[in-house]
């Protein structure tokens, strides 16, 4: 008996149950409510777009692994999450080959060429969206689902005869008080135009709540993002008109990809700062950049560009926000001031 050799390894000898795959699974679950809503609202076509994105991303990853001879230690489902997020960032009416291009771009160019999972510095889904926006501006920004008769293919949105403009575009072009604007209620529930996954604030928040409960994301980034964004818009209001326009702020928050971006894409582990303080700085930067893009840019939407832009600031933010170790002060002295 004593001759038997047991496993040896360096401590610790136990591990938590949470794995990369379980985290990715949780994120997928959290995105499902909004996806289901989008199928109701935008029809089966939304489902097809989502499916094509997911399949393309997964296929791109498999292909890359095969071609580059990369070995997989454990399957982590990260391509599925990327695919889902990419699909959610496309209009339901998109020509079906575009998600394929996007998926391959996201996985191969943005992720794998930079070293694969954990090494990409931009959020793959968003980088792909921006790439598609630049390359195929027309189809990427046409949200019209108007049809002569409603059908399951185009979803409930077609019954309402949704106009081609998203709420933010309406605000941008016609100001805040126009008749063409959907009600705040519609915007919160998601009965508006936009990309597949962004319209329903309610379902996005439900998913986010799940992630918070499962401790997958912390609220540091989303809250600082939303807060700094609102403050910036408020200041802009005050400067311009002298009176705060809270309804306008609420519309800005519910419109476009802000909630989707703040809870699901700005919190992407790989592309946000790892330091606790850095997360807060990152959130604030995002809020300001998004507000600037929305208020002063040509485009009504600004979240995707803002996140991609701030992703590039992450190494800097991280470097500046490394905390002092316990019992030490930043200058190298000890924390008790001795």
């Amino acid at each position: 008996m004593s001759e038997q050799l047991y496993h040896v390894s360096s401590s610790p000898h136990i591990r938590s149950q949470v794995t990369t795959a379980s985290i990715m699974r949780d994120v997928t679950f959290a995105l499902l409510p909004s996806c289901l809503f989008s199928v109701y609202w935008f029809g089966l076509r939304a489902l097809v777009v989502l499916a094509i994105s997911v399949i393309s991303c997964q296929a791109a990853e498999l292909l890359y692994f095969r071609l580059a001879g990369k070995k997989r230690v454990a399957y982590e489902c990260s391509a599925i999450v990327t695919g889902l997020l990419l699909g959610m960032n496309l209009p339901s009416t998109i020509p079906l080959w575009i998600p394929v291009v996007g998926g391959f771009f996201a996985i191969i160019v943005v992720k794998e060429l930079f070293g694969g999972l954990g090494n990409n510095f931009m959020n793959p889904a968003l980088a792909a969206r921006c790439f598609l926006l630049i390359s195929f501006a027309g189809p990427m920004t046409s949200f019209s689902v108007k049809t002569a008769s409603s059908n399951i293919w185009l979803g409930a949105a077609s019954v309402d005869g949704l106009s081609s403009a998203t709420p933010l575009a309406v605000i941008k072009n016609a100001g805040n008080s126009t008749e063409a604007l959907p009600s705040l209620f519609d915007m919160f529930f998601g009965f508006t135009g936009g990309v597949i996954g962004e319209t329903s604030i309610l379902f996005l928040l439900l998913g986010a709540l799940y992630l918070v409960i499962r401790k997958v994301i912390s609220l540091k980034i989303p809250l600082t993002y939303i807060l700094s964004f609102s403050v910036f818009i408020l200041i802009n209001n005050l400067v311009k008109t002298g009176t705060p326009d809270f309804i306008g702020i609420a519309r800005q928050l519910c419109g476009g990809g802000l909630v989707l971006g703040a809870f699901f894409m700005a919190t992407d582990y790989v592309t946000c700062p790892i330091t606790p303080m850095g997360k807060i700085v990152f959130g604030i930067c995002l809020g300001i950049v998004t507000a600037v893009f929305r208020l002063f840019g040509n485009n009504a939407e600004g979240v995707s560009y803002a996140i991609i832009f701030c992703n590039m600031l992450v190494p800097l933010i991280e470097k500046l926000t490394i905390p002092a170790a316990f019992g030490l002060s930043k200058k190298g002295g000890n924390a008790n001031g001795k």
Partner: protein, 442 residues
């Protein structure tokens, strides 16, 4: 009141249920006894015996050498068989005194004779502790007499008994608190008598309410002027010295400071009881309380065994294995060492033998870091383990040090929590070792 604790930390499966209700039983060794000369931090002890000598229970068989060192006392009577390298829990061979036990337990003169500590001077007490070979029994095995001789004796404001026992599965301190609470309190009083300005604090995690109650009941109103029982939040690594000191006093110490620099002295439960035994009963440190546990063990329990006894005998006494264990650990699962062989002796800092049927390490392969930040949020030293590992992997010792890598005390929390199974703590151990070696060279 909000429970005191520290920032960070983890909540692993605690496994204490297996053995917590098993009273401590005495075990007598069958085979030879092995006493490694180095079972403490500091210089190894120098042997005082040679093969063929006969020794008695309580006899000093190796003397402390240098300031930071501790002597070694025989736990049995018998004949010194050899002085040779033997396998120890560290996995390496270490020079050891091997004694053939004659099973008669003949004691040296004066062994077990009672003494009134109030009649002893501070120096006498320190000498007794030194000669009893007492070391910190929480794991680090720092010689206790050195700890109790700080530069500024009057600057000590707190004497803390570390009763957190935050490592999963371990129940030896828990049992000792329930079975010998009076000895613990007396031991603490002895230590307090060395420091005129100090208060005593028994710091216990709140998952041991019975210990808190038992100890609190034993304190007389007069005792309570000087001693209190302080519940702490149950969280790993609550019992790490720096976290404990912070939770109790609010003072932060770093790797370059000793607890005494913050006016604190921390001792583990069994160390304090050993002090009592040595000072009041003239019984040196010759036994350990060991929890033999894990899902592979037939009958997990707590034993009181003489030092030098073989681990395998303890496992046999616990009924052996019900299924073949994948992994055997000396100590707790977070900071203990895994053993490839169980023919190793119980030393002064042994605390548990843990036999697990599953090797969770092998089951969670290393995948790419996803920068999730979990390691950052659990690190009690507020480090960025993810970055430190990058430096470790690049052998960039300078960046490792500049980013406070030396503040890591290898608690294992980051590795435990990492969803990608990164062996963070393991990298840090290597890098820290190489940095310490480099410093020594200079």
């Amino acid at each position: 009141m909000k429970l005191r604790t520290f920032q960070g930390g983890i909540h692993p499966f605690d496994g204490k249920e297996l053995s917590k209700n098993k009273p401590i039983t005495n075990l007598s060794p069958k085979g030879e006894m092995v006493f490694p000369l180095s079972q403490h931090i500091g210089a190894p002890a120098v042997t005082l015996v040679k093969p063929g000598d006969s020794v008695l229970v309580g006899q000093k068989i190796a003397e402390a050498q240098g300031f930071i060192s501790a002597c070694i006392i025989s736990s049995v009577s018998g004949i010194v068989k050899a002085i040779e390298p033997r396998l120890t829990t560290s996995g390496a061979m270490a020079e050891s005194i091997v004694i053939e036990n004659d099973n008669e337990y003949k004691k040296i003169a004066g062994f077990g004779v009672e003494r009134d500590y109030t009649k002893l001077s501070k120096d006498e007490i320190r000498t007794i502790i030194k000669n009893a070979g007492i070391v910190g029994m929480g794991g680090a095995a720092f010689p206790t007499h050195v700890k109790l001789t700080p530069k500024d004796e009057n600057g000590i404001t707190h004497v803390i008994v570390n009763a957190a026992e935050c490592e999963p599965y371990l129940t030896s301190d828990y049992r000792m608190m329930l079975e010998e609470p009076a000895n613990l309190i007396t031991g603490l009083k002895i230590i307090l008598s060395l420091f005129d300005n100090a208060k005593g604090v028994i710091a216990i995690e709140n998952n041991k309410p019975d210990c808190i109650e038992t100890l609190d009941k034993l304190l007389t109103p007069e005792d309570k002027n000087k001693i209190c029982v302080m519940p702490l939040k149950a969280k790993y690594p609550q019992g790490a010295e720096r976290n404990l000191i912070y939770a109790v006093t609010g003072k932060k110490i770093n790797s370059k400071m000793l607890p005494a620099d913050a006016g604190v002295i921390v001792n583990n439960v069994d160390t304090v009881i050993s002090v009592k035994n040595a000072v009041c009963n003239n019984i040196p440190l010759i036994r350990r309380i060991i929890t033999v546990t894990g899902d592979a063990v037939v009958n997990p329990q707590n034993f009181c065994v003489p030092t030098g006894m073989c681990y395998q005998e303890l496992i046999d006494a616990a009924g052996g294995f019900k299924s073949t264990p994948e992994k055997i650990i000396s100590g707790g699962p977070m900071m203990g060492t895994s053993l490839y062989n169980t023919n190793v002796p119980v030393t002064k800092n042994s605390s548990a033998i843990l036999a697990l049927t599953k090797d969770e390490v092998a089951e969670k392969p290393e995948t790419p870091c996803i920068r999730c930040g979990r390691c950052v949020s659990v690190c009690p030293s507020r480090l960025i383990p993810q970055r430190l590992q990058e430096y470790s992997n690049r052998f960039d010792n300078e960046a490792f040090e500049n980013n406070y890598g030396m503040e890591c005390y290898e608690c294992g929390s980051c590795t435990f929590i990492c969803p990608a199974g990164r062996k963070l703590t393991q990298s840090f151990k290597e890098t820290r070792k190489s940095i310490i070696a480099q410093r020594k060279k200079k």
